[in-house]
């Protein structure tokens, strides 16, 4: 089963709001098995003005945030109760690697697959690609409360 989600549908799942929504679109959704999401990185992002002046690089923590938000979508997929419950998600552990810098104009393709999902928590593996090149990967544990 393949599905996609636009930003309005993403807003129903994610508790994050502007300026902290790090997913623009979900292009592939296999409930509880796989999520492929897109984050377009624009030079207009505010963080670029300070990170770093004259050398814009997307902060790694925000790439982790993008992977974590895709993980929330994976966690909630196949459950129609996530949006109603107003859950808040906490990171329990993150093991991340960053292979290449992300710069304005890049389109992040974030792929998330579960290692283990239980009722209130999940451990997932995530990777981020730009033009087929892997720029980051992580193993993420999240708890929903």
């Amino acid at each position: 089963m393949m599905n996609s989600l636009n930003i309005e549908e993403i807003y129903k799942i994610l508790p994050q709001r502007f300026p902290f929504v790090m997913i623009d679109r979900v292009t592939e959704l296999e409930p509880r098995k796989k999520v492929v999401a897109v984050k377009n990185v624009s030079y207009n992002e505010e963080f670029f003005s300070g990170h770093f002046p004259n050398n814009p690089v997307m902060p790694g923590v925000l790439i982790i945030e993008a992977m974590a938000q895709a993980s929330i979508i994976l966690f909630c997929s196949g459950k129609d109760t996530c949006a109603d419950k107003k859950l808040i998600y906490y990171l329990g552990a993150v093991k991340a690697r960053f292979m290449h810098p992300v710069v304005p104009g890049d389109q992040l393709i974030i792929t998330v697959e579960p290692l283990k999902i239980i009722a209130r928590a999940a451990i997932v593996k995530a990777k981020v690609q730009v033009l087929d090149k892997e720029v980051a990967s992580a193993e993420i544990s999240l708890v929903a409360k």
Partner: protein, 81 residues
């Protein structure tokens, strides 16, 4: 099943970032070893992955000590045979 006790101890030691020799098999994870519920889930996931078994999440609250974890894991390893 020789070796399994040591393997599980090693898996858990890696997750909680302690030396395996520091883990008393009867020490309580939360109270004595500073483990949180997320780490316990990591134990479960790591054990499932290593032995290609599935342990239902209902058993997770029983992961109280190393010995308890080994005992539960062995139940599912025995079932697999």
């Amino acid at each position: 099943m020789p070796g399994i006790d040591a393997e599980i101890k090693e898996l858990i030691a890696t997750i909680i970032e302690k030396d395996a020799s520091q883990i008393d098999p009867e020490a309580r994870f939360i109270e004595d070893l500073g483990v949180d519920s997320m780490m316990a889930l990591e134990f479960l996931a790591a054990i499932e992955k290593k032995y290609k078994i599935v342990i239902p999440e209902e058993r997770l609250p029983e992961f109280i000590t190393l010995n308890a974890t080994i005992k539960i894991s062995k139940e599912y390893l025995d079932n697999k045979k």
